[in-house]
């Protein structure tokens, strides 16, 4: 079974976020693998393993030709990657991104299954998985907390407000996985060394047959009209517990008429 995983490379979320003068998130910095995508990579590796054959391919889109995050996922065990990279991709919205990823899936030779995370850490639109599925003309099963493949079908447990639903679809399909679907492995030393020589097929939107007005700022068809600081909430009273702080809390609850 062949599985493609969409993995995003993002600015380190531990560092304070910054905006570019064009009001998009600053992305011309060192990018790392979005931690949310490690679950998809691990899930893919386990599914291919269970199927007893096939390989895991990564697809990724980034405005600069960053490969660091891809190397991390290759070190976990993916076989190869397609990286779509070009300055014209800056400012892409979720639909533009999905267009690129859907074409990249085709360039990678298609697959039985495409995995994504439910939302990226930096963009968190959560719409890319459904858009990719619709563009490929495949069913999408989102918010999976468990994934099984058998007899040409994928079955998931889909997170819901009340618990979960069991949802099934014939392959090929797109599945978005939540954190916790599996425990991602750490790349081994051997894996890290092997990743250095794994093939990354770097291409541009035009290689994928996409025109300039389908991606980037012009493809996004939206305009940021203002960026402002949110009104701050004032901090109130702060007390050090000397053994009687609970009395102040109880009095406060009384003032609020909650007890």
């Amino acid at each position: 079974m062949n599985v493609i995983v969409c993995v995003k490379q993002i600015p380190d979320p531990a560092l304070p976020g910054e905006l570019d003068p064009d009001h998009t998130l600053k992305r011309d910095v060192k990018l790392i693998l979005d931690e949310s995508d490690m679950y998809g990579v691990e899930m893919a590796l386990q599914l291919v393993d269970a199927a007893g054959g096939g390989e895991v391919t990564l697809v990724s889109m980034a405005p600069n030709s960053e490969k660091g995050g891809l190397r991390t996922a290759l070190a976990m065990g993916a076989a190869k990657a397609v990286l779509v990279s070009d300055g014209s991709l800056a400012g892409s919205d979720s639909l533009g991104t999905a267009r690129v990823l859907a074409r990249a899936v085709e360039r990678a030779g298609g697959a039985d299954l495409v995995l994504t995370a439910t939302e990226s850490t930096d963009g968190y639109t959560g719409t890319v998985p459904g858009q990719v599925a619709e563009l490929l003309g495949w069913p999408s099963l989102t918010f999976a907390k468990k994934v099984d493949v058998a007899d040409g079908k994928v079955t998931i447990q889909r997170q819901t407000e009340a618990g979960y639903d069991v949802v099934e679809a014939p392959l090929p399909a797109v599945v978005s996985v939540t954190a916790g679907v599996v425990e991602p492995r750490y790349p081994s030393f051997k894996g890290i060394m092997a990743a250095k020589n794994k093939p990354i097929d770097e291409c541009t939107p035009s290689d994928l047959g996409l025109s300039g007005d389908q991606v980037g700022w012009s493809g996004a068809r939206q305009e940021i009209v203002s960026v402002a600081a949110a009104p701050e909430r004032e901090a109130g009273e702060k007390i050090e517990d000397d053994g009687t702080a609970h009395e102040r809390v109880v009095a406060f609850l009384e003032e609020l008429k909650l007890i």
Binding site: S94, I224, A228
Partner: protein, 322 residues
């Protein structure tokens, strides 16, 4: 100034319309000249009166027939878009809402603005506001694509108020074109047991973070206090990821947004991704042993102390009052 027809993707659990849907209908009345809704339900007649009460003149109904509600919703929305050209489509940032809008977006080739916390009309354009960096920064974005403009709104962004008393007339959409997306079948539904009020509806929310020390402490330090205040219990992602409590309790950017009368943060540092889900609360009490914890910057009452001693004393004092 209003902007033409607003179409709302409505969601309901049985006959109960979701609160996020009622919020969207309320906003739709404010920005639109006409409000209609799409509902995916086997019994649309049961939910239509409430949708009407909140402003939907027409309720376009699709039967899920064992398929995913969001996917059927996308086909239903596409069919209404084709037949009556709404200016705006609103849906909630929910599981099915995101399925519906993402499939719709690709089907009709329109971009989507997500994570909106407000929408307003500006001249002949629609402006959606979203919060970045944990709510510290507000970004206003205008869609320049053709209509309909697609916007996904975070629940609890505005208050729901009935009004308009529209007809809520049900129009069945009949067979819809789903393509392969309709091959996803829902085989079974598992409902997890839940006690007390729901997190998003509760007037009081008590949440625990890593500072409670262990999964075993969640009962005495979080659930007990929530129960005594007739509230719901919540959590940070740190303790959800640690497996101490289920994901349904998570408050924050990737969890729920809550706006209770009172929010009590127990052993929570106050990371921006947590704050964005709770700083709209009327009143906030924080208990944390680190006087520098960022949670104190939003707290009306901050207790610098050990949660494992302070909270049991609060619980005991409330119980002692009988």
């Amino acid at each position: 100034m209003a902007i033409g027809k607003v179409l709302v993707f409505a969601e309901a659990d049985g006959a109960a319309v979701s609160s996020a849907t009622l919020e969207l209908l309320t906003k739709a009345r404010e920005i639109g000249d006409a409000v209609e809704a799409v509902i995916v339900s086997a019994d649309a007649a049961a939910v239509a009166p409430q949708l009407g009460e909140y402003g939907a003149a027409v309720v376009h109904a699709a039967d899920p027939q064992g398929r995913l509600s969001g996917v059927v919703g996308a086909a239903a929305l596409a069919s209404v878009v084709a037949s009556s050209a709404p200016a705006v489509v609103l849906c909630a940032q929910s599981y099915d809402g995101r399925d519906a809008i993402s499939h719709l977006s690709a089907r009709i080739d329109r971009p989507v603005l997500t994570n909106a916390v407000d929408v307003r009309v500006d001249g002949d354009a629609l402006v959606a506001q979203s919060a970045m960096f944990g709510g510290n920064t507000l970004v206003d974005t205008k869609l320049t694509s053709g209509q309909p403009w697609l916007v996904v709104v975070r629940p609890k962004s505005f208050a729901a108020e009935p009004g308009g008393a529209a007809a809520g007339e049900v129009v069945s959409l009949g067979d819809l074109e789903l393509g392969r997306s309709g091959e996803a079948a829902v085989l079974d539904k598992h409902v997890e047991e839940r006690e007390g009020p729901q997190l998003e509806e509760a007037a009081v929310v008590v949440s625990g973070g890593r500072g409670i020390g262990s999964a075993e402490n969640y009962g005495p330090l979080v659930d007990d206090l929530a129960g005594l205040l007739n509230g719901a219990s919540g959590a940070t992602r740190a303790i959800v990821d640690a497996g101490w409590v289920p994901y349904s309790k998570q408050v924050g950017q990737t969890g729920k947004t809550v706006k209770p009368k009172l929010y009590v943060a127990v052993g929570i540092s106050g990371a921006t991704q947590h704050l964005v889900g709770m700083k709209g609360s009327d009143t906030i009490i924080a208990i944390n042993k680190d006087p520098e914890a960022p949670i104190f910057s939003v707290a009306d009452l901050g207790i610098v102390g050990d949660a494992t001693t302070v909270v049991p004393r609060i619980v005991e004092a409330i119980r002692a009052r009988g």
